[in-house]
């Protein structure tokens, strides 16, 4: 684990990035593509008092129209393709896709007729969070990484649709 000072520095930078670039509100939409319901439980706990995601400026939104970040869980079931793509397309740019948990990273299910086996097969994933399930702490860390990625994608914060497409090749 890194020394505390670096941590504090990292946290400060994270908060700064969120507050300056996203008006203190980065909105997250979750997408279950066939998880076993445990990743969902951990994501729900992010808003629980112990982790309180809101203190960092993150919020959950049920509408992908308002979302900046897509948190994908599960091995990307083939029957879910359409919904996954629709959700991604419904999000305005700039947007990041965060693959969450071992299933979404290709760990549990191999590629077969049921599943793509990897969130990256369908969506342009920007950040990968390992873990089965990733604990809320790991999720917090991953969201911090995602914010950095989002900030990279939007130099000078020009909200141009092309920049989303530019960020989509990962």
């Amino acid at each position: 684990m890194n020394p505390g000072r670096d941590e504090a520095e990292a946290a400060r930078r994270l908060r700064d990035t969120i507050s300056t670039q996203f008006g203190r509100s980065l909105h997250i939409r979750t997408l279950d593509t066939g998880s076993c319901a445990v990743c969902e439980q951990e994501i729900r706990l992010l808003t629980a008092p112990h982790y309180d995601l809101h203190r960092l400026g993150f919020f959950f939104t049920p509408a992908p129209r308002h979302a900046d970040l897509l948190l994908v869980t599960g091995p990307m079931i083939r029957a879910f393709d359409v919904a996954a793509r629709k959700t991604y397309e419904a999000m305005p740019g700039p947007k990041v896709v965060v693959a969450t948990g071992a299933c979404a990273l290709g760990g549990v299910y191999p590629k077969d007729p049921f599943v793509h086996g990897n969130a990256g097969e369908v969506l342009p994933v920007d950040v990968w969070i390992p873990g089965c399930p990733p604990s809320p702490l790991a999720l917090l860390h991953g969201l911090g990484v995602a914010v950095g990625r989002l900030a990279e994608m939007t130099p000078g914060l020009t909200f141009i649709a092309d920049s989303a497409a530019g960020g989509g090749e990962a």
């Binding site: 279950d32 319901a37 706990l45 629980a48 112990h50 029957a79 879910f80």
Partner: protein, 552 residues
Amino acid sequence: MTPTHLPIPASLSRAAATSEQLVERLNALGGLEVRDGGATRGTVTVRTLGETLEAATHVVAGAPGARLADMFAGGSGPTGSGVSPGDRVSPRASRAADNGGDAPTLRLVWALESGYLLTETEIHGDRYPALSDIAPAAFVEECEIYEQFGIRPATGKPLNRLMLPPHAGPDFPRMRHRPARPPEEVHAPHTVGGQAFEFPFGPVRQVGVESLYYGLVTSGEEVVDVYLFTWHKHRGLEWRLRGTTPREGLFFAERAEGLSAVAVGWAVAAAAEAALGSTPPPAAARTRAVALELERLYNHAAAMAALCQATGLTVGQSAAEIALERLLRVNAASFGHRYLFGVIEPGGASRAPDAEVLRRDLPAAYGELRRAADALLSTNSFVDRLEACGILTAEQARRLGLVGPVARATGMATDSRLNAGGPPDGNPYAGHLVTAVTADGGDALARFQVMLGEAAESVRLIGEFLDAGTEAKSAPLPPGGGRGLGWAESSRGEVLAWVALDQDGRITRARLRPGSVRNWRGFDDACRSQNVFTDIPIIEASFWLTAAGLAR
């Protein structure tokens, strides 16, 4: 809330009599009790003829206290024709094996007052008697068996779409490959006629919930019917388990319904143990029980948080989530995993709880839960929303074969921990007083109260098991093949698993039936019972089911 104490010894003797009587009556119909290697261990197995299947089902369904727990089909014949010693099948080859030529065997698992009764019937042709007319609970399984095996009830009633996605072609993997008939011929037409319309909801729904499609058919005010689609969560787990060893298979089984990982894992492990005639060491069995009770405990806390969220009581949600997080941390501190994955292994348990941590932290965490619950029960705005919401009657629960808190909230004292079938050594609950907490409202409040009562029981049982001693120990599985039935009581109700192992100890057919599979069927009826839209999240939270468990 009326706790029903069912001392195990008494029920044991009574149930044994029932089971014997049933077997006698089935034998009169041409049934044959199987005791040799072809039997499913862990249960009484009766082979019935295809011609008398209907009559046999009538006999068992009519027996007092009998409940259809599961129905499934298998590719191999009842005498183990699919398994021959020395015929080593590679996992992949076995998985892809086309069993289309074999006559599938239909197995019905009946839960009696104590112990399970399994009937098996070889089905020739593609039709079998419509058992859902006798035991309505069989309907889901009829749909599933059609999708996986291509055989269907003889009445030709339309079936629901369950797991096969609408676009699944003939080469979409199934348990038994057989070109699919045009689904519109078989699947119930999904239409809404007259003056109602379908309010579409999902599959991508609120944040942090599973993907699930509800079609709420409504006349504008009342909920007329609910269409429930989960095929976009079907991961083909039973298909995946073929050709794996029980240990490999357990890894997937735990992920069938991650919030019941211990219960599903235990059921599969117990089934494999039963198939091979081994029993886990008693201390390891107690380890399993501690893990199971911890799992039930955190699920009840999570259900409480979900209920608060559904009723819009954010402070209550926070209080419940504090309790939930503390319980999960107790799990992590004692077993090394917040959701207790990897605790169960075939033959025993791979990890032992840190008894000291449990004794120290669990009471505090449970105290948090208890205080939050007390505060909730004295909050009128919360209790009023739960009262008379999503009512199910005991009759409905019995007909639909509901399990777990949903069934117990209607007054049915069904709890598979009370079921003393199987080897007594492998049952850590034998010798402990297990209380089936019941309530008689049948509504969301009753379910909530049942959950609270069970949470208290879980804490007590954990203490007793720790006092009796726990250990991470496994009895190695003996070589050979066989069939076994295993079960465990998850927070959602009874989990059943049935496995057939070949001589190499590899799974040729595994059946997983998490509690969610049964209870989602009650969800439709609960939604219809004169509820309005805004009650549905409350009903969903009070059932606390997973789509993952239903779709597997």
